[in-house]
């Protein structure tokens, strides 16, 4: 429709955000949010354990525990922020409201970076687990090509706009939790309990240097990244003020129990050196393999029953489980990692919509395809960056460590800004309704500040600085990305004659 109609000089209009105005339906409950969050956080253990073992050696269970405590602080800050602002921008929305648009943009670019690396690292690890069925997938060239293929395939799916089923997420989350519980129970009952000295020898006998321990804690935070997913999805959740905090608390409990159990299982079945050298990319497959070697079904059967029939039945039962376990782990880990790759792509789509809506990134990134209604430009651009990040995988075996450093760089910067925003919101907007308000507050100049957010801020900033100072690749690629983001933001706002720091009005997303 072509027209010359223009509003008259005095005609001004404001578009107001409304709780139900977006096309996203509020249909997800607490468990749906938990499943999506677990799909992202839970998938991390499939690669983080091996990566942490490479650096922290025997101290892996300890550094995972320390990083886990930090994860609790982060999840709690996200619970307060998400209940206040159930928006797809996640911590970028907290930063925008707590500080200003400049901080919102910085947080948004950090988040986008962590999503890109999620895509790269999850896709890079999936072929290693599939190597159980076809050995060449564990080779650098074939594995990297397969990872690039996974990203390309998912990029096409996300451009077309295939919806990820919440039921599928829940199914895989449940199957994953059950499989990990089986692994933990088998390891604790039949290896750890009768021979606790194996675990303690593997831990104490392979203690890392002080620098290895510190870097190990930094890299261990990788295992807990993905908490942002719950925050992002809250825009589609029923009663997000209630369901989001519930999902986050459930996530804390499940993840802490499983990760502790898995790290005990890991060093009950193999040494840290074995894990670092042979199973770095597929540590859970290593545990399943270790269990199938270490547990002898006949021994369990004779211990449990004295009748010949009982021995045969129990032997067949445990023999079946131990044979099935490596196959189940290979299939499940690949599925979970592909879902995590897809979650990264979906995260980018949602984040781009949100950042574009608040004019924190140029609108050309958020441009929606007229037919598929997806931000195809952002999906293609960010998927391409993820594919580029995998290129060293052809030549360098340490690509895995590089990707881990990059992931921690993006996530920890976003977490630091999230904690800072929660504190700033307490000072700037104490009057705002907080359906989930953090307890354990200290009063400074009359303002109630949550201790967990303060500790979270200090911890995440310290870890981020550790990565920046010790990992040159993460430092230059990460800082380069942030500089690019900042320049893009400043040029965009200047050209649009929008304030550089103050909050700009919402924009309508353009359609191609």
């Amino acid at each position: 429709m072509k027209t010359n109609w223009r509003p008259k000089l005095g005609d001004k209009f404001i578009r107001r955000p409304r709780a139900k105005a977006h096309p996203l339906r509020r249909a997800i409950g607490s468990f749906g949010l938990f499943s999506a969050g677990y799909g992202n956080v839970g998938s991390s253990i499939y690669y983080a354990l091996g990566l942490v073992a490479l650096i922290a050696l025997g101290a892996t269970p300890i550094v995972l525990l320390i990083a886990g405590i930090f994860f609790i602080f982060t999840a709690l800050s996200y619970a307060e922020g998400t209940a206040m602002m159930p928006e797809a921008g996640g911590s970028a929305s907290f930063a925008r409201r707590g500080f200003n648009d400049l901080f919102g943009s910085i947080t948004g670019w950090a988040l986008a970076f962590s999503y890109i690396v999620t895509i790269a690292i999850s896709s890079y690890t999936a072929p290693a687990y599939l190597g159980y069925f076809w050995q060449p997938l564990t080779e650098p060239v074939t594995g990297t090509l397969a990872a690039m293929g996974i990203i390309f395939f998912l990029m096409c799916l996300n451009i077309i706009g295939v919806k990820q089923s919440s039921i599928l997420n829940t199914f895989f989350a449940l199957l994953d939790v059950i499989t990990q519980i089986i692994i933990i129970l088998l390891a604790i009952l039949f290896i750890f309990a009768p021979h606790p000295e194996i675990f303690s020898h593997n831990v104490i006998g392979n203690w890392p240097s002080a620098s290895g321990l510190i870097l190990g804690i930094a890299i261990a935070t990788l295992a807990y990244t993905g908490v942002e997913t719950v925050s992002q999805l809250s825009e589609e959740a029923r009663h997000p003020a209630i369901t989001a905090p519930r999902a986050l608390i459930l996530l804390i409990a499940v993840v802490m129990i499983l990760f502790s159990g898995i790290s005990v299982a890991a060093f009950s079945t193999m040494t840290p050196t074995e894990m670092a050298l042979e199973w770095a990319r597929d540590p859970i497959a290593g545990i399943a393999y270790g269990l199938s070697i270490a547990i002898v079904p006949e021994e369990i059967a004779t211990g449990l029953s004295s009748s010949p029939a009982g021995i045969i039945v129990i032997t067949a039962f445990f023999g079946g489980i131990l044979k099935l376990l490596p196959i189940l782990v290979a299939v499940l880990a690949t599925s979970i990692l592909i879902i995590a790759t897809n979650a990264g792509l979906m995260g980018i789509s949602r984040l781009t919509f949100s950042l574009g809506r608040f004019q924190l990134i140029p609108l050309l990134f958020s441009r929606v395809h007229h037919k598929f209604e997806t931000p195809y430009r952002a999906i293609i651009l960010f998927s391409s960056v993820a594919i580029l990040l995998l290129i060293p995988g052809f030549f360098k075996p340490e690509t895995f460590v590089i990707l881990g450093g990059l992931y921690v760089f993006g996530s920890l910067l976003a977490f630091s800004l999230a904690h800072a925003s929660i504190l700033r919101l307490r000072i700037r907007h104490p009057e705002l309704s907080r359906p989930f308000k953090l307890r354990l507050n200290i009063k400074i100049k009359g303002y109630e500040l949550p201790v967990t957010a303060i500790l979270g801020l200090v911890f995440s900033s310290a870890i981020w600085l550790t990565i920046v100072t010790t990992q040159p690749y993460a430092r230059w690629v990460g800082l380069g990305w942030m500089a690019l983001g900042l320049i893009t933001y400043l040029v965009f706002r200047h050209r649009k004659k929008l304030p550089l720091i103050r909050v700009a009005p919402e924009a309508k997303l353009p359609v191609d």
């Binding site: 429709m1 072509k2 027209t3 109609w5 509003p7 008259k8 005095g10 005609d11 001004k12 209009f13 404001i14 578009r15 107001r16 955000p17 409304r18 709780a19 139900k20 105005a21 096309p23 309508k508």
Partner: protein, 143 residues
């Protein structure tokens, strides 16, 4: 010749005809899988800043737009809803229609007489006069 419709704008006002208008828009849109946008405009008094958020107005607007969504859900069609603030509803409706490039505006109205003269409402007159696209005015039955 049937006109091809790609998108329809339905300004809502909380009147009794809103539900029927939304359902009518959905049935027209279904043939060509067109988009339906329902919009509610909060008219802000000139004594207040345009971005002032009056709680009672917001609640009313949210309720009306939710009812519009429910009406569309009854018709098994998905619509987008928007909440705008303006000094006058008429220019805001036309601006929205132009920005979204809609092919048709469907407006509900009541037939009232002011001083013996039929009165359709200021916004309807403005839209009829200024909107560059087709406009369908829908009057509910008097009973």
């Amino acid at each position: 010749m049937m006109m091809e419709i790609k998108s329809i704008l339905v300004p809502t006002n909380g009147g009794g005809a809103d539900e029927e208008v939304i359902k009518l828009a959905c049935s027209l849109a279904r043939r060509s899988k067109a988009k339906v946008y329902a919009v509610y405009i909060i008219e802000v008094e000139r004594s207040l800043s345009l971005d002032t958020q009056v709680d009672s107005d917001t609640k009313k607007a949210e309720k009306i737009l939710t009812q519009a969504e429910d009406a569309a859900a009854d018709a098994d069609y998905e619509i987008e809803t928007d909440l705008l603030q303006a000094r006058d509803a008429g220019p805001a409706i036309v601006n929205e229609a132009v920005e979204r490039g809609v092919d048709l505006i469907i407006m509900a109205t009541t037939y009232e007489k002011a001083h013996g003269v039929p009165e359709l409402g200021k916004a309807v007159y403005y839209v009829l006069k200024e909107a560059p696209c087709r406009v369908l005015v829908y009057r509910d039955s008097i009973s």
